[in-house]
Symmetry: C2
Subunit: 502 residues, 2 copies
C-alpha cells in the first residue's frame, strides 16, 4: 500500500532531483568510468554517498584514544533526543505532560502476552551446563531450535542446519562482528538509504567499516515503480562511484522488511540484488529482523532463506533477532545464519564479546519451540494489534492531509512532511523535529536515516492506544501550529482487537 500520491512525490526544491533509471544506465555504461575515475560529478554524488562518521565531532577528552573519543561522541550526540526523552518520560499518572516516544522502533503492544509466557515455570531452568562457559556459537540445543524455527518461518526449501547458526546478543553485535571479519579497516558496505541509522555505528565503532549510501528518492519514474525504490541500476552506480573514489566495497546490506520505509522486496527483486552482489563478489548481509512483523497478509513477504537456490550462498549471511518480532529489544537475542563455515567460525570467535547468558539461551529455546503459543496466540494477536494501531495512525495522517508510505510491515510509517519545510532544508527538518520534541512527542527525522530529501519522518505506531492517541494529538498540534501540550488523549478510535487469549 502506497499512501503517497504521485503529485506529492516531487523532489524537494533544494535538491537537483535524481536522474531517471535510464539516465543512470547510460551514465554507468560510458560516462561514469571516464568522468568519475577520481572525482565523481555532481549528479552522481546525489545517487550515492560515502559516509564518514568522524567528520562531526571535536576532540575534548585527554584520557581517551582518538577512536575512544569518536565512540564517546556517538553516545553524547546520537542520544540527544533520547536523553531529553529519558529525563521527561510520559507516564499516564505521574507525568502526563512528559514526552511520548514515537521515535524508537519498539513494539509495546504485546508485553502482556510476552510477560505471561516468559513468566511460566518452564522458563526458569538453572542447571550446571547453563552456568558454565558455553560453546561461543551458542548452546547446541538453542542452535537446533533456531534452525528449526527459521526453517519453518522462513519457509526454507530444505531444513536449515544448526551448524550454520551462530547465536549472540543482538543484531547490533552481529553487524559489528560481520563488518570486522569481512572487511579490512576502511572498507565499506553498500546500503540503500534511507536506512536504520544505527548501522553506521555498528559497522564503524569496532570494525572501522564505512557505509556507501545508495540514495533512493521519492520520485516515481515508471508505471511499476514506487517511491524510494531500490534498483540494480542504483546499486551499480553507487558501487562504481565508490570504486572510482578508491573505496573498496566488500558487501551489500539489505534490510527486508525495510526500516524505515516498511518496504518489502519481492523474490524477483531479491534475486536481482543477490545476482548483482554475486557479479561483483560482494557479501550480502540480509537483515530480516521484521520478518514476522508483516501484519498485512496481502503483502506476501518472502525471506531470502525461502529462495530455491541462493546465487552465492558462501557470501549470503542472514540476520534475525527477537528484538522486533517478539517485541523484546531488552532481551538481547540475535542470530546469524550462514552456509559459510569460515564466516560462522570467525563470528563465533568474536562471540566471547557478544555472548548471552545460558539462562536466556534456555528461555529462548523454550520460546522458539512453543509453536502453539507463537502461531495461535502471539502472532495473530500481535498482527491484529499492529494492524489496528497502523490503521489509526494512517487514518489520522490522512485526515491531516499528510502523505506517507507504509506497506503493512514493521512498526513505523514513513511520513512526508516536506510541505511544512518552506525552503526544503535539513535545518528546517531539524527545527520541525525540535518543535515536535517541545510539544512532547519524539519522532525520528529523515536525516537520522541518511535520507537525501529533507522533510521525511519515521513515526512509530506500535504503542498502546492511550499513548498513541495522545502522541498523534501532539503531532497534530505541531502541524496545526498550536503550542499547548496535550495531556489527555482525545476519544481514541483504535479498534483494539479482541484478545481471545487473556
Amino acid at each position: 500500500m502506497f499512501a503517497l500520491p504521485e503529485k506529492e512525490s516531487r523532489a524537494p526544491s533544494t535538491c537537483l532531483g535524481p536522474a531517471s533509471t535510464q539516465d543512470l544506465d547510460s551514465n554507468y555504461g560510458d560516462g561514469l568510468e571516464r568522468e568519475c575515475s577520481r572525482k565523481p560529478d555532481q549528479k552522481l554524488l546525489e545517487l550515492y554517498g560515502v559516509g564518514d562518521p568522524t567528520t562531526r565531532f571535536s576532540f575534548n577528552s585527554s584520557h581517551l584514544s582518538s577512536r575512544g573519543r569518536v565512540i564517546k561522541w556517538f553516545w553524547d550526540s546520537a542520544e540527544e533526543g533520547y536523553r531529553t526523552y529519558h529525563m521527561d518520560e510520559y507516564d499516564e499518572d505521574k507525568n502526563p505532560s512528559g514526552i511520548i516516544n514515537l521515535g524508537t522502533s519498539e513494539n509495546k503492544l504485546c508485553f502482556d502476552l510476552l510477560s505471561r509466557r516468559l513468566s511460566q515455570s518452564d522458563m526458569l531452568r538453572v542447571e550446571a551446563a547453563l552456568l558454565q562457559y558455553p560453546d561461543w556459537r551458542g548452546h547446541l540445543f538453542l542452535r537446533e531450535e533456531v534452525a528449526r524455527f527459521l526453517s519453518f518461518y522462513c519457509k526454507s526449501p530444505a531444513p536449515l542446519k544448526p551448524e550454520n547458526v551462530v547465536v549472540l546478543n543482538g543484531c547490533a553485535s552481529l553487524f559489528s562482528a560481520l563488518a570486522t571479519v569481512l572487511c579490512e579497516v576502511g572498507e565499506a558496505f553498500l546500503i540503500p538509504a534511507p536506512y536504520y541509522g544505527a548501522i553506521t555505528q555498528h559497522v564503524y565503532l569496532y570494525g572501522n567499516v564505512r557505509l556507501v549510501c545508495v540514495y533512493l528518492d521519492s520520485e516515481v519514474t515508471g508505471l511499476d515503480a514506487h517511491p524510494f525504490q531500490l534498483t540494480v541500476e542504483r546499486l551499480e552506480v553507487a558501487l562504481h562511484g565508490a570504486n572510482s573514489e578508491g573505496l573498496k566495497v566488500k558487501g551489500l546490506i539489505l534490510i527486508n522488511p525495510q526500516n524505515p520505509l516498511g518496504d518489502i522486496y519481492s523474490p524477483g527483486e531479491l534475486r536481482e540484488f543477490l545476482e548483482f552482489a554475486k557479479r561483483h563478489e560482494l557479501h550480502v548481509l540480509v537483515d530480516e529482523v521484521y520478518m514476522l512483523s508483516v501484519f498485512e497478509e496481502s503483502v506476501g513477504y518472502r525471506s531470502v532463506l525461502s529462495l530455491e537456490r541462493l546465487p552465492d550462498p558462501q557470501r549470503t549471511h542472514v540476520m534475525w533477532a527477537t528484538s522486533k518480532d517478539f517485541g523484546m529489544s531488552g532481551l538481547r537475542f540475535g542470530t546469524l545464519y550462514t552456509e559459510n563455515r569460515d564466516v560462522a567460525t570467525a563470528v563465533a570467535s568474536l562471540c566471547r564479546y557478544h555472548g548471552l547468558s545460558g539462562l536466556v539461551q534456555y528461555q529462548m529455546a523454550q520460546l522458539l519451540r512453543d509453536r502453539d503459543w507463537i502461531n495461535q496466540v502471539y502472532l495473530p494477536e500481535n498482527h491484529a494489534r499492529l494492524k489496528a494501531a497502523h490503521a489509526y495512525v494512517s487514518g489520522e495522517l490522512r485526515s491531516l492531509g499528510i502523505p506517507f508510505l507504509s506497506r503493512g510491515a514493521g512498526f513505523f510509517i514513513w511520513v512526508d512532511l516536506r510541505k511544512y519545510l518552506p525552503e526544503g532544508t535539513f535545518e528546517e527538518e531539524m527545527r520541525l523535529w525540535r518543535r515536535f520534541l517541545d510539544q512532547k512527542v519524539l519522532l525520528s527525522s529523515g536525516k537520522a536515516f541518511e535520507c537525501k530529501e529533507p522533510g521525511w519522518f519515521r513515526l512509530v505506531f506500535s504503542d498502546k492506544a492511550h499513548r498513541l492517541c495522545l502522541g498523534m494529538q501532539r503531532v497534530r498540534q505541531v502541524l496545526e501550529g498550536k503550542s499547548q501540550v496535550a495531556e489527555d488523549p482525545p476519544a481514541c478510535q483504535i479498534q483494539e482487537p479482541r484478545d481471545q487469549h487473556r
Copy 2:
C-alpha cells in the same frame, strides 16, 4: 603460602636466567637508554616481550578479511585442547574414560547452592521495562546494587557511586572495550607474565592492542622476595624497553588475585604499582574477578577500591564479574568501576555490543542484594569447599614431590614440572601437556600464560571430589610413566565440608 622450595626455583637450562633486581636497576639507570634505543639487548629481552598475535597463523580463507582470518585462527588453534575435551568429556556414568578438565578456571563446587538460589521465585520477574531497550550502561537498579555490593565487599572508604558503574556481559568484553577506547591501533598495555592468556585476544581481536609482557621468574632474589614477584623495577624495564622499540604503552593490567599464580598484591605493592603508572601517565586496569575467591583467611586480600586515596583515580579502572566469584562463567555478567566519566561513557557506547538481557540484570540485582545468602550461605560454603579441594590437590602434589605455588586464592595451583623436562624446552612442555591429554586429563601449560620458563602448569582444583580425585590419579599416572587411563577414582581424601544449608 609458598610450597616452592628455593632449591627448585632455579632457572631452566635453556634460559640465560633473569637479572637480579639490582642488575635491572643499574641497567635502567644508564645502560638501557643508550643501548636499547632501537634494539634491546639479549638480557633485557628476557625481562619483557612485545606480543604479536599475528605471527602464528596462515591465511587460508578467501571470504574473510585479513583480520577475520586472524580472528578465526584464534578460534581454530586456541581451542585445540578444548575441542578434544568437548568431543570426549568425562561423564561418571556414560563416559568414565573421558577427559577430565583441570584446565578451565571454573568453580564447579557450588552449582547446588547457585541452582537453588537462582531457581527461587524472586528470580523470574518479567516486566515491560526489562524487555525494552535498556540504558546501555546497565539498568539503574542494577548499577545501584553493584555500587552497594562493591562498596561492601571491596571495603571502600566511601560509598561507591552508581554513575561510575557500567554493566556488561563479562570481563572479556570489558577488556575489549577498554583497549579500544584507551588505545590507538597498535598501542599496548603492560602485563606481568605469566598471565591469563585470553587477555591477548580480548585486547587484540577488536581493539588491535598489544600486550607487553613484564616477565616474572621463579628465582627468588632476596629475603622478603617470593617467586614470580612483580616489582616496580621490572615494570620500569619493560616500559622502557617497549618505548625504546617505538611502542606506545598506554596502560598496565593488574590481575589481583593473580591468574595463574594465585598471588595477591599487598596494599603497599598495589600503591607502588599505581604510583609507577601515575608517573608514566598509564591507565591501570585492575582485574579483581577472584576477589571473593580468597579462601585462606590469613591472606588478607585488599581490593584496590579499599585504598584510602587512589594515586590517579582518573586512570584507574576496576573490573569485576560473577564468572569466578559466583562460579557462573555462563551467566555473562561483568562490571566496570571508574571515576573517569569519559571512559565510562565511551565504554557504555560500546555496550550496544556487550549488552546483557534485562531479565538477567534483574536476576543479578536480586543476587547481589541478598547479603544474607551471600554471607551466611554462599561464601562460607564456597570457601570451605575451595579450601578442602585445594588441600587435597596440594597434598597429592606434595606426596609426588612436586613443587608448586599457591597462596590460598583462586581456583588453581601453579605447578612446577620442570624436573620432567630434561632439556627444559617448550617442546617438551607441549609433549608433557599432550601426555596428560592422552591420559585423559586436560591441564593448561605455562606457555598458554606466556610464562618464560618451560615446565610450569596451571592445575584447576575447584571441581567435585570424584572428578578431582580421578584427574589427580591420571596426573600421577603420567608423572609415574604409566600408560593405562584410570577410570575409577582412588579412595578420595577430600574433606568435603558439611553443608549446613542443603
